[in-house]
């Protein structure tokens, strides 16, 4: 997964993965879309391929790249666990905030009913 993150951590490679999400594409098309030179795109594709993020097939003169979903799914599982931990914390926080608001509301009501009592001078 570190390989996946390293590969995705470079903005141009991230863009390539974004492009491939819509479906397989030949290298030439990615060169046009990314405004990069062909050798740069090829270099990035090699890194993505080494990280297992893309597959390539040759169709006549064209090299066509496809996204491989497995590493991205692994990343998703990892993010999901992180998310779940915070969700556990935040569900507890929801309950706490609810308690605090209920208490605040009761406190205000009590203050309202107490005021005339205090006025009579027998509160202290």
């Amino acid at each position: 997964m570190i390989e996946t993150l390293k590969a995705l951590g470079e903005p141009n490679r991230f863009q390539i993965v974004e492009l491939l999400r819509d479906g397989p594409r030949p290298v030439g098309e990615m060169v046009d879309r990314l405004h990069l030179r062909q050798p740069q795109v090829s270099k990035h594709l090699r890194v993505l391929s080494d990280a297992g993020l893309v597959d390539v097939r040759v169709d006549a003169q064209r090299r066509i790249y496809t996204l491989r979903p497995a590493p991205l799914q692994e990343l998703e599982v990892w993010v999901e666990r992180y998310r779940r931990l915070w969700e556990t914390n935040f569900l507890r926080l929801d309950a706490l905030l609810n308690d605090l608001q209920t208490k605040e509301l009761k406190g205000k009501k009590r203050a309202r009913t107490k005021r005339p009592v205090r006025g009579k001078g027998d509160h202290r």
Partner: protein
């Protein structure tokens, strides 16, 4: 506006994690829940079975905070702390963070921003690691221990057996 209860988690660039979550409460109250020890101790606990025996907060710029968690069944403890860099009550907190048994170099910086609308509050929490290597290192240590979900500020230590 995010719907209360709906947590969004994303990474930004190669050094940050961003968490967005809305709460059905005014901002002042959420700010209190993040900064008053007696309240923090009630929710910032990670998985069930852990408590927070130490929660010290010196809420001023340059002030320190310290958290220690304990797993009740076997007494395993872990701690973290840091220094407040910015405090704008009740809307913004920036603080450094470092775990006692840190598995990554340098400190991380956490920024929490609270925005209120219609009595509901949206929290945007960003954790910025010093280097990409730090974030990757955190991941690596987690992988070695067989823990997949290991670069979070709590999960890492909380889930360490």
């Amino acid at each position: 506006m995010t719907t209360p209860g709906n947590l969004k988690l994303t990474t930004r660039g190669d050094r940050e994690i961003v968490i967005i979550r809305a709460f059905d409460a005014p901002r002042k109250l959420v700010f209190d829940a993040f900064t008053k020890p007696e309240l923090v101790k009630q929710w910032l606990l990670g998985p069930d079975g852990w408590s927070m025996p130490i929660c010290e907060i010196d809420l001023k710029v340059g002030g320190k905070y310290r958290y220690v968690w304990r797993r009740d069944k076997d007494g395993t403890e872990m701690g973290m702390g840091g220094v407040y860099r910015e405090i704008v009550a009740p809307e913004r907190i920036v603080a450094t963070e470092k775990f006692d048994q840190s598995w990554y170099p340098g400190e991380a910086v956490g920024t929490s921003v609270l925005a209120e609308r219609g009595g509901k509050t949206t929290l945007t929490q960003t954790i910025l690691y010093e280097t990409r290597e730090a974030r990757d290192g955190v991941l690596k240590s987690g992988m070695e221990k067989g823990v997949v979900a290991n670069y979070d500020r709590l999960a890492k230590l909380l889930e360490k057996a």
